[in-house]
Symmetry: C2
Subunit: 181 residues, 2 copies
């Protein structure tokens, strides 16, 4: 009976522990969605800050999952869905709202290409066994570079952002090997 | 030699066939992303139409995959990522831009809850074996209902949309069993 009670407590503790990493992932997702809401209201600076905050939580959830040894298939799936929002859609919309909208339809197409390539990268990542290196630039890296580029909008000609968007898109779906830091 | 050549042609044909369903999924995703771009510019009617067009392609890709017997793990992953955009973020933003923004912070929180619950629903779906019924209302159904509600904004009081958003959110993560049509 004592053993059973102990097992029950252990199992509850394990569940709480397991959810801790997923909780961080959901904060990351919420920050990404909040960034989009601020960007809809043309509040790009707050959107920019929220994307980097999401990036911080993205580092945390993986670290927590590995440290506590609670990596799960559910967590991996949730992480990908979350990455698509925080590092796919949010940075693409930041640069679209800040610069690319000037280009009209081509600006829209390039923004969509970035999101599509991000989704392809994530789907491919989810079905491959991880061996220490990523195939193709991770969407987190591409998304953070895209968001960071926002700081240079006053110093760099607008067409540079078209090249950046399409360049990062292709780097995500390329077969370049990137070692995990 | 003839056999080898035939196998090569067969394999190329299979690859093209396999990509046909994924191509439809990517059109669905592009329509969802385009809907978001139109909604950023406050063009809600076009956003609404694009969400339903995405819904049409979502029916197609599954049908094509099953008919051609080319259901793949990559296709399943891509489909989920795509569903989160076209039936999670896009309808949530449509209703936020149309009505919920009036409620300030609570309106933002409810919009984010819808997206978070959609992501949880998709992550759970991806790790469970499909047995003919869905557990929880699918995000495609919740998203299309949410988008359809846009047609009633002139006839229904604004707070109804707060209830609708939170209600659909919980239906997605509930354990209600929904039979596949």
């Amino acid at each position: 009976m004592f053993m059973l009670e102990r097992e029950r407590i252990d199992s509850t503790f394990k569940k709480v522990k397991a959810q801790s990493a997923n909780f961080l992932t959901l904060i990351n997702l919420s920050l990404g969605a909040l960034a989009l809401l601020f960007m809809i209201n043309n509040d790009l600076k707050i959107g920019f800050i929220l994307i980097f905050l999401a990036g911080l939580f993205d580092r945390f959830d993986g670290m927590v999952a590995r440290k506590l040894n609670i990596e799960s298939e559910f967590g991996k799936q949730l992480d990908s869905l979350c990455d698509l929002i925080s590092f796919g859609i949010a940075p693409a919309f930041l640069i679209y709202q800040a610069v690319l909208h000037q280009f009209g339809v081509p600006g829209m197409i390039f923004t969509i290409i970035f999101i599509v390539c991000g989704a392809i990268r994530l789907a491919r990542f989810n079905i491959t066994e991880f061996t220490g290196s990523f195939v193709g630039v991770p969407i987190t890296v591409a998304g953070c570079l895209m968001a960071a580029a926002y700081l240079s909008i006053n110093f760099v000609p607008a067409f540079f952002f078209m090249f950046l968007t399409i360049g990062l898109s292709f780097l995500m779906i390329s077969t370049i090997s990137v070692k995990k830091q």
